[in-house]
Each structure stands twice: as C-alpha cells, then as structure tokens.
C-alpha cells in the first residue's frame, strides 16, 4: 500500500492498471486526456499488460471496446462531453449486448458556446442508453469506484457496462492523496472470470444482434435489460460492502447519508458537490440548523427506495443539479419527484440549478440557499420554481 498525490485522471488510470484491464481504446478529449496518456505510458512501459488501440473517434473507441469485450477481456475507455455524445449510438450496442465495459466520464459541458469545464449534462443525456452511472465525489472514490465498477459490470446477474463519472478539472486536474491498495487485494476483489453469455470464438461462429421482428423478442430483451438494472441495485450495495471489508473504505452504496437522521432540510447532490455538502451541513449545524446531506452515487439504476426512506423522515429536500434539461429543470430533482409520488407524507422538494459550464459553486452560496430552504419550511411559503444559484 502507498499513498500518492494524484490528479483525478491519474487516479483513474492507476485504478485501471490495478484492475488489470487487458484492452484500452480511447480518443483524447479535454479534460480526460491525462487518463489516456497515463494508460498509454503504463502499457508502453509494460506496467500494464494490455493492448492499446488508437482510434480516430469516440464512436470507434466504443466499437473497439465492444469487439474486445466480445472476446472476453476486461476493457476500458474514457471520454466526455462531445466525445460521449459522438459515442451515443455505440453505447446502446454495448449495453444491449450486455458487455461489462467500464468507462470513465470526466464530466464536461457540451457546447456551444465552447466550454471545457465541469457539468453533469454530458452523462445525464446518456441516461437511457442502458449504462450503469455512478458519480464520484473525490479522487479516492474515483479510484475505488473503477475497481467496484468491474465487479458490478462482470457479475453474471448484471452484465451491464458502467460509467464512472468524475467532474472535469474540479476532480480531473486537481490533485489529492490517493491510497493505492495492495495488488493482491485487488486481484482477490476482482478476479477475472470471462463472461460466457457471448464470446467470440472463431471455431464456433455466431452472430448477435440479429433482426427481431415486432412479434419476436426485442421487447423481452429490453425487459431483461431493465431487470438487470434492478438487480444491479442489490449488487452495487453488496459490492461496496465487500469492498469495505477488504479495503476499509465505504463511499456509500447507492446513496450516502450524512447527518440525516434528525435533519429538517436535506441537501441532495452528486459528484464533488456532494462532498462539499457535508461541509455545508457541518457549518449549518454549528449555527443551530438541523441540516443533512445525501450523496446520490448511482443515478442509473436510480435508488427510488432509498430516497423514499430518506424522504419519509425529513421536511424538505433541496436538490442541487449540475445539469439542466431546458424546459424542465434538473434531472435529479425531476427523478426524485417522480420517485416520491407513491409515498403519502411527501417532503417539500426545492430545485436548484448550479455550476453549469464549470461555474464555481461556493460554500457561501450553498449555505445561503440552504438557509432559504429553512425559511420556506418555517414560514410555510410556496417555493417559486427553480432556484438558479449564482445567476448573474
């Protein structure tokens, strides 16, 4: 074990090396490029025994990963923003072929206007591609989640690709201490057992993805994909429990609660903002506010039951979304509201958009909006639509 001061990107690259990925195909894009560079270095120096396939686009990068994964080897790619959008079609092929590919998405806004900074909109807009999406809050979590992602993806009852998301620059280019585990422990945690449901074997040729007529089985295969997502909820929890046993760290399962048991207002967010939310809560608690925070780790599958459980014991949930669906609002707020529809005693939901295009989200801003929330529930006033944090 050793602790290195790593950028978020390098933390991801180290994790891929320790997971012993055998195949990497990436197209560089800011702010993900360091991941590609570091992995290329590892492969060139022989530290990572893998094939690196340079490609001319992200669409091809995913296509190459699909091919490698069909051959039964552990694969990795990374992208973001326009690159991820360009990959969109292939994302469906990976998930519907049930290939356990792991991809880091270094969240970045999609232009125009041109912008290379943090925003979750790129991966959120891939919501319905059938990929598991886990959002990480810090460098260690990004590292650990890559290892967990392989375990979840390769589970025979899951067999779904996983996106591990970390915000561009906020995490990707800042450096923090990252504890690297022992290789033997990693090997024991994720032994490589090739998936058997679909494997390329030149002696026994097969075709996959053949035409399915409306009255054949397309609908049922989509149903199975949904069921695999439902199963993934249990597996994500089990995986992080197992991870804790071996490595002693727990970043939360599907969601992570922080001082929620008696909280009147809970701050719900994803990514680095979820780390910062703990600080917001601490400051508010010192000032006498009963505040709590929830980190949403898994956006797909969406943890409805866990969020309902939290919602039952609080008066108000303030959601900060670092993404925007123009004409509706933030994705997490929308999905939270939909998830809570079935429970009787619903908390007030306040929607807040923040940090688009990498706009910095400060502690002071978050404290202020949380205090607004406390005021709203105290005075029983009607909330006035979306709160736009830091809008000029």
């Amino acid at each position: 074990m050793e602790t290195l001061i790593l950028t978020g990107n390098h933390a991801v690259a180290y994790a891929v090396k320790m997971a012993r990925a055998r195949f990497v195909s990436c197209y560089p894009i800011t702010p993900q490029t360091q991941i590609v560079e570091k992995l290329a270095e590892f492969i060139l120096s022989g530290e990572l025994d893998a094939v690196f396939v340079p490609v001319e686009s992200e669409h091809s990068a995913m296509a190459a990963c699909i091919g490698a994964s069909l051959a039964g080897v552990r694969t990795f790619t990374a992208t973001c923003s326009h690159g991820l959008a360009y990959m969109h079609e292939m994302l469906h092929w990976a998930s519907a072929t049930r290939l356990p590919i792991v991809m880091a998405v270094v969240n970045r806004a999609i232009g125009p206007p041109w912008n290379i900074w943090a925003e979750h909109g790129d991966s959120i807009s891939q919501r319905d591609t059938g990929w598991i999406q886990i959002y990480t809050s810090n460098h260690q979590e990004a590292f650990d989640t890559i290892l967990q992602a392989y375990k979840i993806a390769e589970d025979p009852e899951v067999l779904l690709p996983v996106m591990v998301c970390l915000e561009g620059f906020v995490l990707s280019h800042t450096a923090q201490p990252v504890l690297l585990p022992n290789q033997e422990d990693v090997d024991a945690f994720i032994p490589h057992e090739p998936w058997k449901h679909i494997t390329i074997d030149i002696d026994n040729p097969i075709t996959h993805g053949n035409l399915q007529m409306p009255e054949d089985w397309f609908y049922e295969f989509r149903f199975l994909l949904h069921k695999a997502m439902e199963t993934a909820k249990k597996k994500i929890v089990r995986c992080s429990e197992e991870f804790e046993k071996i490595f002693g760290r727990n970043h939360g399962h599907l969601v992570e609660e922080y001082k929620c048991s008696d909280a009147d207002v809970v701050l719900l967010s994803m990514g680095s903002l979820a780390d910062q939310a703990k600080l917001v809560v601490d400051v508010l608690r010192e000032e006498g506010y009963k505040a709590g925070a929830v980190k949403l780790r898994s956006f797909r599958p969406f943890p409805e039951e866990e969020l309902c459980r939290i919602a039952r014991k609080t008066e108000c949930i303030l959601v900060i979304d670092r993404n925007l669906s123009p004409g509706k609002g933030g994705a997490v707020a929308s999905e939270l509201k939909a998830s809570l529809y079935g429970i009787k005693e619903k908390p007030l939901i306040l929607e807040c958009i923040a940090g688009l295009g990498g706009r910095d989200v400060t502690l002071e801003e978050e404290l202020e909006v949380m205090k607004q929330a406390f005021k709203i529930i105290e005075e029983c006033t009607e909330p006035k639509g979306i709160i736009w944090l830091g809008l000029k």
């Binding site: 040729p205 007529m213 009255e215 295969f221 695999a228």
Partner: protein, 304 residues
C-alpha cells in the same frame, strides 16, 4: 355490411400487394367511405418473402391503428399460400367472411378449409397477368387483378371507383393495362361451392409466427445469439414463382452461376457441374442473367 370492414391480403414481396391495398383504400374513399386505411405489414422486406397487408373500410373515420386480426375478407394473391398452410391464411376470418383466392382451375378447391358460412371466390389472376404481360421488375403483379375479384365478391367498391383510384396511382400508359387486368378478373371471378366436410371451427386470430424455441421471457438468454444454420427462416424455395433449369449439354462448368447466386443455392457436383438446390433457390434469375452460354432457362414452377 359490418360497421367496419377489414381485409387481409396474403402475397409475396414484388406481387403488388401493398400497392393494391393502397388502391383499394383510395377507391373506397372515393366511393364515400370516410374512414379508410391501407396498412402494409413490414417484414423481411425482400422480394418473394411472405407479406401481408391490411385494409379497413368504414363510413366513419378510423381511430384503430393496430393490425387486422379478425378480417371480414381475406385475399390470397399467391396461390402457394393456401396450399402450404390453409390455417395461416384463414386465421381470424369471420364466420361469414369472404375468402378470395388466386388459383388456376379447381384443383386447389377441395383442399380449402373455411369457417362455416364463409363465401369462397376464385379467379385465375396468374393467367390474366401472363396474358396481359402485367409485370413489374420481372414479377407478375398478381395483386392488381385481385382488386377486381375483391370488387366482384364483396360488392363494396365498383369498377368505376377502382378506375378512378388506378388513374390517380399510375402514369397514364399503365392505367389501361392495369384496368384491363382488374376488369378481366372482375368478370371471371366465380363463387365456388364448399361442401360441409370443408367447414372447420374458426381459427383463432393470431399474430404472425414467433421463433419457436422460446415461449416466455424467462426462457431467454441475456442476449440474442444465433449460430449459422441452413435455412434458419425455412425453405426459401417456397418464395419462388419461376425456377432456373440448367441444360447440361450447353453448360461449360464455368460456374458463373455458382459464383453469382446471392443465396448460395448452387452446388457443384462430383463431375464439376452446377446443380440448383431447389429447397433454397428463390428463383431470382441472377444465374439465368449471368450464364455466358445461355445454358439456364427460367420456367414457371409447376409445383406451385
């Protein structure tokens, strides 16, 4: 008539089934039916493949958008359909519905099974097309004369209405040829006598066939995978109307036919001669076109 009259067409890709269904809708609309629908069922999208099309005809606008399951009339454009599987053709056919068949002579009639009170009509659409040379891209447009048979059998639309619809659908040079086929069929369509032994209980409505090895989603693997197999969608020789015949006297064993056959339905025998695998030959005529010695003829497949 029923409040809504539903029609199902059975034919093969290239026989004009979809076009005929469209013309029927136009003709019915022109005759005052405010609600008409022409519904092609998009399947394998290949010439020769079994296809279905549907019509709905109603005095009031139609809101239903699903396929037709319980037709008031079934039009069998390709005569091989009924001999291969009578029950597929009459599935869902209403008790007193119409069955309108393209057939030469009366040979096929005793083998037909229909629900009680069904009215069966026959017409020799194939001969009409042959006589008039009503062809499109090498295939006889058998569905056009069947429009005439439909008009005669059901009385729902008139020849005048069909003419107007045909005029709005084709270039003027094609109108007369098509109308001639429709008129000939109209005047030669016959109602046939069905004996009580030919009555069977109605065949329940169903959707077109499914892949048989699975019944339920629990049977499915995580992803659909298929292994190469001969004739995975059945013997496609069924799709053929014309068959290639090789004249061994003229054949020089150049194997152009073997090379060009898009279905790999030409085998080479021990003497080096090409042989057609009629189980899978769809009768496309590519070999006939490519043979440099003109050693291949295309002849009407008599078995059908």
């Amino acid at each position: 008539m029923h409040e809504m009259f539903e029609v199902r067409w059975h034919g093969r890709g290239g026989q004009g089934v979809v076009t005929a269904s469209r013309i029927l809708a136009i003709a019915a609309f022109n005759e005052g039916f405010a609600g008409v629908q022409s519904i092609p069922w998009i399947g394998a999208e290949r010439r020769g493949a079994q296809i279905e099309a549907y019509n709905r005809i109603s005095r009031t606008p139609i809101l239903l958008h699903s396929q037709v399951y319980s037709p008031d009339a079934v039009v069998v454009v390709d005569p091989s359909m009924i001999t291969r599987n009578n029950n597929v053709v009459i599935r869902g056919l209403k008790k007193s519905g119409f069955l309108i068949i393209n057939t030469a002579g009366t040979k096929v009639i005793p083998s037909i099974r229909v629900p009680e009170e069904c009215l069966v009509y026959v017409v020799d659409a194939t001969s009409i097309c042959l006589e008039l040379g009503l062809q499109a891209a090498g295939l006889y447009v058998l569905a056009m004369p069947m429009l005439g048979a439909f008009a005669k059998a059901t009385g729902l639309i008139s020849l005048k209405g069909l003419r107007k619809a045909v005029e709005s659908s084709f270039e003027s040079v094609l109108v007369e040829k098509n109308m001639k086929a429709i008129e000939k069929a109209y005047y030669s369509t016959l109602k046939v006598h069905i004996t009580p032994e030919q009555y069977i209980p109605p065949v329940p409505p169903s959707r077109p066939e499914r892949i048989p090895e699975f019944r339920h989603w629990t049977d499915l693997p995580p992803v659909p995978v298929s292994t190469p197999s001969k004739g995975s969608i059945g013997k496609t020789g069924d799709w053929r109307t014309h068959m290639p015949v090789i004249d061994k006297e003229k054949c020089t064993k150049c194997l152009f036919c073997w090379m060009y056959c898009p279905e790999a339905a030409v085998n080479v025998n021990e003497e080096g001669f090409p042989e057609i695998d009629y189980d899978y030959c769809k009768g496309c005529g590519v070999c006939f076109n490519e043979c440099p010695r003109k050693a291949i003829r295309m002849v009407v497949d008599e078995k059908k």
